[in-house]
Symmetry: C2
Subunit: 356 residues, 2 copies
C-alpha cells in the first residue's frame, strides 16, 4: 500500500468514527498530502478519492503518485466536487472550514443534492504532524541544499553588501542547486535590523561588528526546510557576545533535550530558562519552534502554551532568539526530526562559535 | 479629501444604497485599496474606517496613508473586527464572500451581538477597475523598472543559458532596481517550452533559432506591471517568422483600437480576427487580456465572453499569443491605460522587429 493510500485509509477511519460519508479537502497542503498533486485543486475522499482540478493541470494530475481519480470539470474545481459528490450515495459530507471560502460553501449548499455539509477543523493537519520516512527524506534533502548555499554565502559576507543582495544571491544559488523555490521569503538582517524577528531585507549595508541574521529554507517535493544562522562580521562587542552565547547555549540545550513523550511546552522551557537566567527572558518574544513539512508552519506547536506532545517522526524547529530594539538580535534555528530516543538535526550548516 | 477617503466615500454610498450599515473587507488587495495598509489585516468600513491587524504591524499600521483607526486586538484580526462592530449601532453588516473563510464566518456569527451578516461579491473589485492618477503613476513606475531590466536581459541572451538562470537574473536585477518583489512568478520559456502559456522556468538551455518568451512584472507601492516579450535568438525559421508576425500585428492593431466606450469582447476580436485570418485562430487559446492593479489579474475582463466596457482610467493588458505544441509559442503583451480618446502604453520595452 502506497504512503498516499495509507494516509487516505486514516482519513476513512476518521470518517467512519465521525459518522460522515466523505470529506472535501480544500487546503493545498492537505490536497498534496493525500494525492501527491502539487497544483491548484481540491480532493474528495469518500469511497473513492477524486482530485478535482482544471485543464491546465491535465498532464500533471494524470500522473500523480497518489493514484486518484481525476475530474477536470468545465465548471471549475468546485463544479467537479459537486458532480463527484452528487454521483455518490453520500448523505453527510465534511469540509475544511479553515481553507474553504464562504463563497464556495454557498455554491456547495446550493448545488449539492440532499447532502448535509459539516464544517471541520484540523483533521488532516493532525495526521500530518507525524511524518513517514519519505517525508523526512524530502525535508532532509531540502535542508542539505539550503545548508550548502547558506554556508557558501556565509564565507562571502563582507562589508558593503546589502541585505537585499544577500537574500537574492542566496535564493538564486539555492534554486539553481535544485530547490523548487524558497520555502518562505528569505530574511537577511544586519545589525539593528536583526532586532525584528521577521525583518524584510532592505538597502542596509553590512558594517564590521554587525550581526548577520539569515533565516531561509529550501523546498523539495513540496517539503520545506527551515534554518537560521547568525554570523558576526568582525569582532563582536560585549553585548553581542553575551546574547549570541545565550542563544547558542539555549539552542544546544533544547536540541539535547528533545525526545518523544516530552511536552512541547517543557521543551520551550529548556531554552527559555537559560535565556531568562542570562537576563534576556523579556527579549525572547516568540515560541521556541513549530512543526515543518508541506507547510513551513504546521503542527505541533512548540511554545510555552502548547498542549502538544513530541512523537517519533515529528519534525520541528528549535529556534530561540534574543531581540533588542535599536541594537539588533540573534536567532539560531535547526530543523530536527524526533527519533525513538531523542532527536536528529536535519539542518547541518556550521554555527559560528565565539572564541572563549 | 485623500484618494483613500474618496474610495471609502464610494463604499459608503454603496452601503447606503444597499441597506447595510458596514462592510467587512477581508481581501488583501481591497484592504490596501481602502487604507493603504500592505500587511495582513482586515478593514471595517461603516461610520468609521477601522483597520484590524496585530502587533507585528504596529508601526506600519499607525502610519498608513489612508488615515484609519487601528485596532490591535489580542484575539487576532477577527477579534478586532468583532469588537469594532459590536461597539457600533450596526444592525446589518456585509462581508466579502470570496475572500472570507468559512471558519471566520462561523466566528463572526457566533460572536456578533444581534448583527445580521450579508455575504457580498465584487463590491470593491468593481470600484478598483477604474484607476486614479496615483494608481496609474505607480503602475507606470513599476513598468519602467521592469522595462529596463528586461531590455538589459534581452541584450545578454546567448546560447547555453537556462530558463531558470534567465528568470532568476531578471528577478534579481528588477528587485535591486527598486521593485518591491515580482508581481508574479517570472516566466522564461525557450523553444518548445514556449508552447505552454504558463510555462515554469526549468533546466532547458537556449539554442540558436529558439524563441525566448519572457513574461514578467514589477511591483511599486503594491501595484503590478505586466509585460511579455518574445525574442528570437539567431535566425528564425519560416513558421516562427509567420507566427511572430501574426502576433505582432494583432497586438499592434488591438493597441491602436482600444478606446473608452468599446466593449472588451470587441477589443478581443480585433486581435483574434487577425490571428484567425493568418490561420492560427485555434492556437490562440486564451483571452486577449485582463485588468492590472493591486492584483495582476483584476477587472475588467478582456476576452471574447466579456460583458465589460472600457472606461478612461482602466489599466488592461493586451497580450495575444500563438502556441503550437512541440514547436513553441509567441506572446507579446503590453499594459496600457485607457485615456479619453484611446490608450497609452505603460510598458515600453522595445519589441523585436523581423527583417522584411
Amino acid at each position: 500500500m502506497s504512503a498516499y493510500a495509507k494516509r487516505r485509509r486514516k482519513v476513512r477511519d476518521w470518517l467512519q468514527a465521525n459518522g460522515v460519508d466523505a470529506i472535501l479537502v480544500t487546503s493545498a497542503a492537505n490536497v498534496r498530502y493525500l494525492s501527491g498533486f502539487g497544483g491548484e485543486g481540491m480532493v474528495v475522499i469518500g469511497t473513492d478519492a477524486v482530485l478535482c482540478t482544471d485543464r491546465r493541470y491535465e498532464i500533471e494530475a494524470g500522473a500523480v503518485p497518489g493514484r486518484v481519480k481525476v475530474q477536470l470539470h468545465p465548471g471549475g474545481h468546485l463544479g467537479g466536487v459537486i458532480e463527484a459528490l452528487n454521483s455518490t450515495k453520500a448523505k453527510r459530507v465534511a469540509f475544511e472550514a479553515e481553507s474553504t471560502l464562504y463563497s464556495s460553501y454557498e455554491n456547495l449548499t446550493a448545488r449539492l443534492d440532499g447532502i448535509e455539509t459539516v464544517p471541520v477543523r484540523g483533521v488532516i493537519e493532525q495526521l500530518r504532524a507525524v511524518k513517514d520516512r519519505t517525508e523526512v527524506d524530502a525535508i532532509r534533502r531540502a535542508a542539505a541544499i539550503m545548508d550548502k548555499s547558506l554556508q557558501q554565502m556565509a564565507s562571502c559576507l563582507e562589508p558593503g553588501m546589502t541585505e537585499r543582495e544577500v537574500a537574492l544571491d542566496l535564493d538564486r544559488a539555492t534554486i539553481l542547486a535544485g530547490s523548487e523555490g524558497m520555502a518562505f521569503d528569505t530574511i537577511a538582517a544586519f545589525g539593528p535590523s536583526a532586532a525584528h524577528p521577521h525583518a524584510v531585507p532592505g538597502a542596509r549595508k553590512l558594517k564590521l561588528g554587525h550581526m548577520v541574521k539569515i533565516d531561509c529554507g529550501a523546498r523539495v517535493d513540496g517539503y520545506c526546510s527551515d534554518i537560521t544562522r547568525t554570523y558576526i562580521v568582525g569582532t563582536p562587542g560585549d553585548q553581542l557576545r553575551q546574547i549570541y552565547q545565550a542563544v547558542f547555549d539555549a539552542q544546544w540545550a533544547a536540541c539535547e533535550a528533545a525526545k518523544p513523550g516530552m511536552n512541547c511546552r517543557d521543551l520551550d522551557a529548556v531554552a527559555r530558562d537559560i535565556i531568562t537566567q542570562r537576563g534576556f527572558g523579556e527579549q525572547f518574544g516568540h515560541g521556541l519552534g513549530h512543526g515543518v513539512g508541506l507547510q513551513v508552519h504546521e503542527l505541533p506547536r512548540v511554545s510555552s502554551r502548547s498542549e502538544d506532545v513530541l512523537k517519533p517522526g515529528m519534525v520541528v524547529t528549535i529556534e530561540p532568539g534574543i531581540y533588542i530594539e535599536g541594537f539588533g538580535g540573534v536567532r539560531i534555528e535547526d530543523t530536527v526530526v524526533i527519533t525513538r530516543s531523542g532527536c536528529e538535526p536535519l539542518t547541518l550548516a556550521p554555527k559560528q562559535q565565539l572564541d572563549p
